[in-house]
Structures are given as C-alpha cells and as structure tokens.
Symmetry: C2
Subunit: 343 residues, 2 copies
C-alpha cells in the first residue's frame, strides 16, 4: 500500500518517489546481509524473487516454491477514520496484501495480522474486517501481534502458493516483452472517486461533476472502502500464458512504470477504462483500485480463458514497446507520477 | 513483543492482561472465518498450530510443515529512542520475532520487514539493524513495506521450518507434563536492569544498588539493546526430547503462566537465576530477556546435548506439577503479573 489518502490534512511524510529510493537502498543492504548466509551463487538464488516484485518467492531447503507478501495500512496516511470504519481498515489491510499474491497469479493460504491501536479503537470491529476479508480470500489468519500506539497501524503478512494447474512460474513484473498486449481486469478510478465523494460529504460540499445515480455513488464508495483482490483473474491469466502482471495500488501510470522498468521495456497506452463517476485523472493516478495490469503475447487466449472461467472480459489498454523509458498515452508522453495529492 | 518500556512517560495503552483477552477474542473471530474455508474436521487441522503459541505451524496443501511468526516493535511502547538507537530498533524487531521460532525449536529462513517511520528517522540505520540481526540469525529479509507515520513501528514476519535431525514436531507451550523438570537457557533480568541503567543515565541519576564493574554494566545495556534469539538452544532441546518451551518476552513469571495454562499444569520454582547487576524482581517480571524456558522429562539428556553442542549448561529452575493454576516460588505463591510498570 503506497498511496497516501490524507488529502488536504497533510500527506504522509514518505509519499512520492523517495519511498522507492529508500526501499531500493534498504534492499541492497538486506541482500548484502544475505551474502553472509549464501556465500556462493546468484542472489536471489534460482527460483526465488526478493524485494522489487509484488510478492517474494521463496524456494529454499526442501520446500516447494511459496510466496510471501506484506502490506501496511497506516491511519492518516492510507486511511482516514472519518471516511471509513475500523472494520474497513481491517478488511483493507488483509485484501491489499492478498492483492500482491493475485498479481503473481498465486493464491493466499495463511496470514499473520499485527495491529497497533489507540485505546479508543474497537479491536473486535478491526478483527471483524480482517476476518471478513480472510473469508472472502480463502486465507486463514493464524497469528499476529497487538500493541498500543498513537494511530492505527495494521500490518498483514500473507503466505501462499501457486494454485492448481500446469507448473508455470509466478507472474513477475519483469516478464513483459515488446509486442505483448496490455490489459486491465476492470475499469479504474473507483477508489479515488469514492474517496473524493466521501470527503465532499464530510465537508458538506455537493459532489462535483456529473449527476450520478445512487447505485453508482455507492459503487465508488465501496471501491474505496472494500477493494477486491483479483485472485481468479491473476491465476487464470498465469495459466493462460500471461507474461507479466502488477496490481494497481499506486495508480495505473505509476504501476505500469514499475512493470516497464522491471521488464526493460516501454509502454504505449491507447485507452484508459474509467469507471462511471470517476475522471480519467483518477483512473490514471488515483491508485488503490487493485485491478491487475497484465501483459500477454496472446490476448485471445486470455479472453477465452476469462470467458470460460466466468470472469469479466479483460479490457485492452495498449501494448508493450521495445523502447525502455517510453511511456505514451494516445501518442502523447504520459506524465510520470502516481499519487493525487490535491483532493 | 509485549512488554511496554515506556516507564514513567506513561505505559502503552494496551499493556497488561487486556491484551491477552483481546487476542483471544480476535482469535475466536478468525477461527470462525476459517470454518467457512475448512467446513469439516478439527480447527486448526491436524499438524497445524494457530493463535496461542509462540509461532503458528502451517501444514496445508502439499507443503511440509512450516512456521510463521510476527512481532511488533512500537516506539514509546516497546522502545524509547532516547535510550537506544534506530539500529537497535531494527535489530530488536528482527531478533524478537526470530525468538518465537527458537521457542518452537525451529529455524528461521526468510523474513518480511514492514516499517512505519517519521521523516526524521534514518531508514538506512534502521535497515542496518535489521540486516545485522538477519545475518546473526541466518534469516534473509526478502520483502517488506514502508510508510510514513507519527512514530516508528517495525513489524517483522518470519517464515521458517524445523531444522535438520529426526522428525520430531515443534516444541509447543502445551506439551509440559507433571513431573517434568523446568530450566532456562541463561540468567534473567538483564534487559530490565539494562533499561533501568539507561534511564538512570538519561536522568543523570546514579545507578542504584551494588557497585558493578563497567563490563557488567555494558552486559546489561547490551541485553536490553541487543537480545539474542536462542536458536541453537531451542533446536537442541527439541532434538533431545524436551516436552514444551516458551521464550521469555513478558517476564519469567508471566511466561511460565502461559506455558502452564496451555499445558493444564502447575509450576513450582525453586530458583530464579539472576544476572549480575539485576534484581530478582527484574528476573521474574522484567521480560525481554529472550532466554527460553524448557520443560523436559529427561533433564540429563538435555544437559548432555547442550554440552555436546558447546552451549551454556541449562539452569534448573523447578518442575511441573499436576495442579492446574498452581504457581509457586520456593513454596510461596508467586504473585501473578508480568510487566514492571514503575521504573
């Protein structure tokens, strides 16, 4: 979870590109420590993926390949408790972590949930939200830790594996090839638009822009409060020969940038599917939609597989180019960046 | 990590027994959610251990038994940045989580580290502390998350397995039997005494009690800042037929209470080994020593195994009785409770 939602109350102090630099430097330090343990051969060892993808892949010892992922949800950075419930926070912390496994085409299996909370927080509501997401994702919470603290922090760690089917590796960010088609698993901008609506309601401002039926408004608010990890979509894409994937946590523009850098390719978008009631800006930069972006050499195969599995059809958005660094939308350079800082 | 270290600056809001009640209620909710996934048979399934031991044991799908544990370190609850460095915080967060695996007789293998930090915190120092513990524990950090926030929170999740040797199950809290001998892996009270000394220095107060040589003072401070997970001791105890174990995070009195309740037994202590410079009170109730308490029907076998492995000899402290709820020290009732709240 990377997108600060705190809006005009002040954004998180570590938002923006610094976070990625800091993570990279920390990752370098951790790998140096690993060298002491694994003095020979490549790091990560063959079959493993460490820092830099949605989830880590571990294949050590006698164990089969397993996946590990973790995400933080921090009050006033990622969530505003005036705009969502304590249950929403628990639900979201679990779901966004599981989404990292969805982006690898994997399934979650067991999770740990650690909670920091001030004394006025209802822990049983927080647990209910976690449990609801646990049920929805088919992932049992088997442990955790609890502490007091000045704001709510929920840290979920998920352990999972590649599901059934032929033995294909996990879907990495680094697998995209020039010529691959790109699609997303659903229209975007819902979470950012829902966040905007909730803030407008909080400040008694009328919702801007077009008139929307109540059902569409509810859908946007739900997209913000109750995102869904696209586990079926990730697994079916992996089994149908996708080459790379990432989940949309930071925003489409930012996340395809991660994928392009990992793969050493460029990206040309010809369409951005926008959910009813959101703006294209929100769809491009809002983040937290948790739809998947998938690259594939064979889009027809994935469309067929989605139809057979009863999933919504994948939405084509563009293609992968052979020019590293190139980021184009309808022929124009795509402005870099992710977060919307000015709700 | 359960022991609030905030002393007279105000203890953490969730310290004390409430934490255990809250965790139990949350665990009940998580198991209810698991029932939807695993509609038949016992929960946890055979071969698994969920909330309530030092680490969770997972044996799902086609995978061998693996262990998962997580711990939180929260600024002003578990650590005071006037008394220890940012590196210490990283080191401690990793080490105390690994200690949960030591208490199961298991080895850590891979870890995830999630960090919340205000902007003035040097993240590379935090990473150095994490990396140092990672090296010392032979456990590679393969992922994590990073966010801004008002105080430092480090949440480490560790994935591990039972190490080499004959196929014995993990050491549980619930395995102690009446007649078993109890021992600890080293003298206690060092972390609490080190914390007391650091606070006396901070407030320019002379260290109370006996005169200590500087090397002993340093040892106490180090015990507080740089605890060591007793991985060899846990594994050798498991392989030498120990029946139960727990690590001393809350304090000897509190932690043997957990072990006794899990096993449905009583405990009679005849000795409390106190490290030079600490008080018996600190040894009983100080916590954060991360030595192991081990129960065994065959103390001679464990002593021999420790000697063969070049480990410090186990220190006998008492035995397991058949009277559930009984907690006795030298024939007198042991006052319940854990944390020292009044430094």
């Amino acid at each position: 979870v990377h997108r600060p939602n705190s809006g005009d109350e002040g954004t998180g102090p570590r938002d923006g590109i610094d976070e990625f630099d800091a993570i990279e430097a920390m990752g370098t330090r951790f790998v140096a420590a690993a060298r002491a343990r694994l003095p020979e051969g490549p790091l990560p060892p063959v079959g493993e993926v460490w820092i830099g993808d949605d989830a880590a892949v571990v294949a050590s010892g006698t164990h089969a390949q397993v996946l590990l992922a973790t995400d933080l949800v921090v009050q006033d950075v990622h969530v505003d408790l005036r705009l969502c419930s304590v249950e929403d926070v628990g639900y979201k912390a679990m779901m966004v972590t599981v989404s990292d496994l969805a982006a690898m085409g994997a399934r979650p299996d067991r999770a740990l949930a650690s909670i920091v909370a001030p004394p006025d927080i209802d822990l049983q509501q927080l647990a209910s939200g976690l449990a609801e997401a646990s049920e929805a994702c088919d992932c049992v919470i088997v442990g955790g830790d609890l502490s007091g603290g000045p704001v709510v922090v929920v840290s979920v760690a998920v352990y999972g594996a590649l599901g059934v089917g032929p033995a294909t590796g996990p879907l990495l960010r680094s697998g995209a090839e020039p010529g691959d088609r790109l699609f997303v698993t659903g229209p975007l901008g819902g979470s950012a638009a829902g966040f905007r609506l909730l803030r407008q309601r909080l400040h008694d401002r009328p919702p801007g822009g077009q008139e929307l039926p109540p059902s569409a408004l509810d859908r946007l608010v739900l997209a913000h409060r109750r995102p869904r990890a696209r586990l079926d979509e990730g697994e079916v894409a992996r089994l149908a020969g996708a080459s790379a994937a990432i989940d949309i946590s930071d925003g489409l523009a930012s996340d395809i940038g991660h994928l392009a850098r990992s793969s050493g390719v460029g990206i040309s978008l010809d369409a951005v599917p926008v959910i009813e009631g959101a703006t294209e800006e929100e769809a491009l930069h809002g983040g937290e939609d948790y739809e998947l972006v998938v690259a594939t050499p064979d889009p027809r195969r994935i469309s067929d597989a989605y139809r057979s599995a009863g999933l919504r059809p994948p939405v084509p958005i563009g293609w992968v180019t052979g020019t590293p660094g190139e980021m184009v939308l309808r022929g124009e350079p795509l402005p870099p960046g992710g977060w919307i800082h000015r709700f």
